[in-house]
Subunit: 335 residues, 2 copies
DNA sequence: ATTTAGAATGTAATCGATTACAATCAGGTT
DNA sequence: AACCTGATTGTAATCGATTACATTCTAAAT
């Protein structure tokens, strides 16, 4: 291990000078600088970042807690975070909870032990009071999810308006009997998308029949099963809004298995626009989230927090977008 | 920031004793220990890990370089790595190259600067000499990819035998005219899967016609286009082996767009068994890689390297598996 | 030649832990 | 009482950088 002392000795200067050559070259004479650089190269010196960090009490590392790294939605957000982080000289520590809520909280110790300068949470399923407290002590940004009534800086889309948009699209196609497969209603995300659905229906004076709202859990299987329930109805919906794409896939599959067609017999719209949605058959009409931008915005926000810059606001709502593909069609089955 | 000194003062002992209470409690008297613990709790003391790491010259962190984090194949391997890492008290630094070869190499500095104790490479596209040199100086494990003729510890499946297995499966179904859509042939992975294909054909005395081997680049679009080439032949293949699932999806789509059916008119087999292969229509027959196990094995291997344990061998070949779904069927179109 | 300001460099404290070594203590032996 | 041993605890060096402050140099001004 070659340290700054070795370089200093070799170049016949003090360690202070070596340090200055590295961090503030303008403060040292050209000639000395050359000498030092030469020694650095000859010894292949690499500063020990741990020592630097200890001295400066900063790590140039941020922690990202992800509920499930194998979910492309999150990995795309993560990529956005990484992109900005690396460009600003930060490294990204990954905390993958593997869909286990208990593990999410454990990662917080990384911050407490000063091994990261800040944290981005892509999940808010742990105790909200814990998160709130934590945000008081450390730079923290919420992305994708949010906590109701909290002032923690948050980046996300407006899930209510997104869901409303999806529903109104179906309505604009002439559908009146519309079913919804919701996400789990114990998380804000699930509730918000249902809320958007209800708002759209109300705005157009359409009734929301309880039998046409089924609670899923964001999985393919739940989408499949809930659609089966709809199809068992004496008077099934002509269109279905699934709160995410996986459930929409399951729903479409259920329709096909019943020897019916999407979109001819039933229109289906999803939410998220994941990778496979365009490859799926029929290509899925859905609401697209700006995943990469959510990531970059969250990271930029965190950087401001770390640098104690003034925040102009703490809720950043990004634009979602309706992606029209081929799983929805005008209602040709008027009551 | 409360440090060990504050605790020492409060408990009326030296910092050495506090340190011992934390790391070797058996070396300090019960009574003192209690006093110290009390102070620790009252002050909510958290040891500064940076300082500890600096002193011990270890970081309890490993770096994983991923070519593309949004690819579920890699994120599953990553999850395996994380799983073992966290259970052994290690943290995972993520280096996502975003499919940019140049960025892969940049992450190596993290190691040089002693910010990680070891590294797992899920890609070997940078200069092999660079990797070889690096492996001399730092604990390094290759996962998924490998370098020909290298002694670097490697965890992967046997791509040649996997490809052979896929091809022989088609042959066992009575197919004789079999096409292959390869991966890029400038990477070992691509070459190996082609090699396996050729071996299987040779073993069964089947000719490999040049027009029936098309080079793709692992993307959906390339699969689509190469299949189009096959279909334009006067005598197209009755079965096609695509070197990964994405290309297989594209290939199937091409067949459908030509108003033919998979598997009735053409059988298609893929490689990797990614998430959507089972949802795809028809559900894709493919070779499944034990992604999670690749990750766990790689991490365990790296741990051994870090602890300087003896390695019994340096090539770990895990078992792949043929997953029979519905995209392949017996040849009903004998020449 | 002397003074002086500003540039360049060096000295040593510091960040917060760990740990080799030294010092002290408690209790048992003689 | 004097001595010894092993258990406990304390002192201070150490890890490798950064940086406040002190010192020395340089060159221009007087």
């Amino acid at each position: 291990m070659v340290s700054i002392k070795d370089v200093a000795k070799k170049a016949n200067v003090s360690t202070a000078t070596v340090s200055r050559v590295i961090s503030r070259p303008e403060a040292v004479k050209e000639e000395t600088s050359m000498k030092v650089m030469k020694a650095i190269h000859e010894l292949k010196y690499q500063p020990n970042v741990l020592a630097r960090q200890l001295r400066k009490l900063e790590t140039k590392t941020i922690l990202v807690i992800v509920p499930d790294i194998t979910n492309t939605f999150f990995s795309k957000v993560l990529r956005g975070i990484e992109y900005v982080a690396v460009s600003k000289g930060y490294k990204v520590l990954l905390g993958d909870a593997g869909n286990d809520v208990a593990r999410e909280g454990e990662f917080l110790n990384v911050l407490r032990q000063k091994q990261a300068d800040g944290i981005v949470l892509l999940t808010a399923r742990m105790e909200t009071s814990l998160i709130e407290e934590f945000a008081l002590d450390y730079p923290l940004v919420l992305a994708c999810e949010y906590i109701e009534g909290s002032t923690i800086p948050t980046v996300s889309i407006d899930n209510i308006s997104g869901a409303r948009k999806a529903t109104e699209y179906l309505i604009s196609l002439g559908h009146k009997k519309i079913g919804m497969i919701t996400g789990p209603l114990n998380v804000v995300l699930g509730r918000d998308r249902l809320k958007g659905f209800s708002q759209a229906m109300a705005r157009h004076d359409l009734p929301v029949e309880p039998s046409l709202v089924q609670e899923g859990n964001f999985t393919y299987d739940s989408g499949y099963n809930m659609m089966l329930k709809f199809l068992a109805l004496s008077n099934p919906p002509t269109a279905v809004f699934a709160a995410n794409d996986e459930m929409a896939f399951g729903a479409v599959k259920a329709v096909k298995d019943r020897r019916m067609r999407v979109p001819e017999d039933i229109s289906v719209i999803g939410f998220d626009d994941i990778e496979f949605s365009s490859i799926f058959e029929p290509p899925l009409t859905t609401i697209s989230q700006p995943t990469f931008e959510i990531g970059t915005t969250a990271m930029e926000l965190l950087l401001k927090l770390i640098n104690e810059d003034e925040l102009t606001r703490n809720q950043y709502i990004l634009e979602d977008k309706l992606i029209e593909r081929q799983s929805c069609v005008s209602n040709n089955n008027p009551l």
